[in-house]
């Protein structure tokens, strides 16, 4: 069974600082990997996704993530955080031809001035 671990429940960064959110997955074959963002009171919005090819993927709002097969990781990064990035971030894993997507427990990001 596929699973996702987000080890950080809550992260606080200063505005302008860099950000890295961790995600580790467990899955035997090549996974489909996603990062979603959820603003308070809203649904989830896709930030970026990895299916194959270049292991560094670019997403919306200046986010990027790197797929590292050897570490079973798909960490989300942003070079300079803005106050509007405060939200909850979810990593998710799926695979081609498989109906279900499994989500991690989320990381809540707080941005301080």
């Amino acid at each position: 069974a596929q699973s996702v671990t987000q080890p950080d429940i809550h992260i606080t960064v200063s505005e302008g600082a860099s950000l890295e959110l961790r995600c580790n997955y467990s899955y035997g074959a090549t996974p489909y990997l996603f990062w979603y963002v959820q603003s308070p009171g809203q649904g989830l919005q896709l930030l970026l996704k990895y299916f194959s090819g270049d292991t560094l993927v670019q997403g919306i709002k200046g986010f990027e993530a790197e797929f590292k097969r050897s570490q079973s990781s798909f960490n989300l990064r942003k070079p300079s955080v803005h106050w509007s990035d405060a939200a909850e971030y979810f990593c998710a894993v799926g695979r081609r031809g498989y109906q279900k997507v499994t989500f991690g427990t989320g990381t809540k990001l707080q941005v301080i001035p």
Partner: protein, 114 residues
């Protein structure tokens, strides 16, 4: 350009009451899902559907029923609500089997069971 629409957005029930949440999507997606979101637990899959007339159980199906009579609609029912079902419920949809696996989410339905 509605995408995925959930109704109602808020509901308060008493223990033992029943209700139905409606999810509608206008993207002609084959797959539809119901998740519940609870603090510290992320999103957990309740039931899903791979096409009109089909349903399947997810991780936490007990106490819920679903129906997909029309391709664009996916209904989640609670026959006898319990306080443990207090949660935020999200509907999502996805394209066909061969397509990329991006899920499109509704804005959520907050349910409180007293």
């Amino acid at each position: 350009n509605a995408g995925v629409t959930q109704t109602p957005k808020f509901r308060v029930l008493k223990t033992g009451q029943s209700m139905t949440l409606l999810c509608a999507q206008d993207m002609n997606h084959e797959y539809m899902y119901w998740y519940r979101q609870d603090p510290g637990m992320g999103l957990r899959l309740i039931h899903y559907s791979v096409g009109e007339g089909t349903t399947a159980k997810g991780e936490v199906p007990d106490g819920y029923n679903v129906s997909r009579l029309k391709k664009q609609n996916f209904l989640l029912g609670l026959e006898s609500a319990a306080p443990s079902q207090t949660s935020v419920y999200f509907c999502a949809s996805k394209g066909t089997l061969g397509e990329a696996g991006e899920l499109f989410f509704g804005e959520g339905s907050r349910l409180t069971v007293l």
